[in-house]
Amino acid sequence: MKNGFVIFLAAFAVLLTSWSAFVLGPQLQLGGAKQVPVLNSTEVYPRSRPGEANQGLQVYRANGCAACHTEQVQQDGVACDVVLSSAGKNPSAVSNLLATLNLRGLNQEEAHAASDKITAAGGKVETHIVAVGPDIARGWGLRRSVAEDFLYDNTVQLGSLRIGPDLAGVGARSPNANVVLQHLYAPKSVEKDSLMPPFRYLFEVRKIVGGEFSPDALNLPKEFAPADGYEVMPKPEAKELVAYLLSLHADVPLYDAPFTPIIAAKP
């Protein structure tokens, strides 16, 4: 390798390969992605977020929330749950049988075997597909995150470190805007041991006008509340951020990530 030009050409070829695989390839495959149908439904997914939530994504970005929070639920696989839909004519026999069977977290054959036994005893069952894994068990989501969840996001904030919990489904598990606002203003008033910094600069502490709390003011526990005669009002950024957080609920079954209920019970 005496010649600089040879090394340039060869390095160029290697980098072009890497560029094609990790820039061009994904763009060709996903750059033109469209909404996809929700399983067993006429709906399509995803809907674009409301305007306030989209502005909230910019607040999320500007404050570097992704330094501590991920938005990607992981899943190890799927399992079947057998669910009794009707006890039939002989409920006591069915309930005795149920007591002896394991009906959750089965593979496909086990699920068939269990539903056959129950059907033979006169009950009717449905088999549900559920996602499994630590994140799912924590209630962070019903399925893993997939590319479709981020179709309309700009900028996509997947995160890489879980100093705080995953937020991909935070809107589904904590749908109360006031609680989320309170969490932002005084994290320890919601989670005693929280390491999250209080985002007080997204709020305004102001004098109560006319002796009554404003309808938007935070309802804080005593030790976190400001002095008497003052109230804590969320600034527009705080409201937008909460609108964004509440819009995070990746909870519909898709072809890439199916769950409940897609296999009808055997007749």
């Binding site: 600089g4 763009q27 750059g31 996509v156």
Partner: protein
Amino acid sequence: MTVNESPTNKIDVSCRVPLLVLFGGAALWLVVGSLLALLASLTFHMPDKFGDCPWGTYGHLQPAADDALLYGFCIPAGLGVVLWIFARLGQTPLRSALVPVIAAHLWHVGVLVGLVGIFVGDSTGFAWLEFPRGGSALLFFAYLLIGLWALMNFSGRRDGGMFPSHWFLVAALFLFPWIYSTANILIVGWPVRGVVQAVITWWFGNNLVFVWTSLVGLGTAFYFLPKFSGRPLQTYFYALFAFWTLLLFGSMRGVPAGAPVPAWLPVLSSLSSLLLIVPVLAVAIIGWKTVVGAAGEKCRGGSFCMIKFGFVAFVLSALLLIAQSCPVIGRLTQFTWFGTAQTQLQLYGFFAITMFGAIYHILPRAVGIEFAFPKLIRVQHWLAMLGIFILVASLAVGGVEQGMKLNDPAVAFGDSTKAMLMFLRVSTTGLLLILLANLLFALNIFVMILAWKWSLAKTVFAFVISPLNKTEVKA
């Protein structure tokens, strides 16, 4: 100042001003970055104290600290070392040094613009690419100019030969403009849709933080190790092999397993990561055969020790990288501090310490002044080694502990963060030692710059007051 007109001295002197600007600014950002990292770490010990101003939250401090280390220190330090090594290997003085001097100033202004941008909420939100457009554009053009000058010097080299260092450094010079322009155009300027943004971010981050630093750091080590050990690089063919496999497998990775993207991307990434073991072994063999048992200089806390330490840190960092890309281990370490530990080992333990070694060797030769506090060099080396060891060990062990708790749904999430607190306290100590080491480094560099400016002023003054020559008087 000694006036020595040997050709080597001429080459060193030709790089003087660009190197002073590049290394001086780098030393400043190094201190700023480690200060920000320390503050970011402190937010975990007293989260309540930082809530009233936006710039005091972890989400601002941490990206700013990372970028100050990478863009503020690593890249300008690397570029300075590349300029000097090219001039030395090619036996060609750097011409028109004014251009790289201006470019180096532009670079440092770009870093300033970028850091301010992060603090006022203009961060792009993409890891390692947080600088807003204005800052990125300055960085890009500054890099192009310096890179172009280095390449012009390279193509004018005297005997036309190429050394192993040349391959690594030339490839690194090409790599940055390519990945930086791609990433900035496709995810900041005219953003692509959805998760393609995330894939490009991962690709860019890996190519800059792992591949670029590895190429420059190893290129530098392959220049200095034979020089200090007094034994030629063992061997040319191992180095050739390591170069190509590192470039090939290193650049084809970056997407973590389990990412919400088409499955072939993480699979390809894991596969290339596992194959990275090949260049890492080759590099380890080169280092071992070149240094161990050689009859050259002994390591006495100076440049040689630092570059040796950096070399070992590279092998360890690459092994951690391979481990966390292996699906079985990656499942445990994903989303934990383990990844941060690896990045810090790569950027500080390997790259920054290698650069310290190189700069301590280069700067006295280029400026013609010895360091004012030579004993502090040794102290700095020990502080840096100890600091990075404490930082990386605590975060890596803590990360595994955190991962085990995260993967067990019976353990509440809060317990996984609580378990980390002890490790974070230890890591804060590591960051404090690193800050001290960086201050000592900056002290030596700044005093040298002041001494140079002082001698420059004296020369000018002496010139002004000296009596005119008789010939000039007659004319």
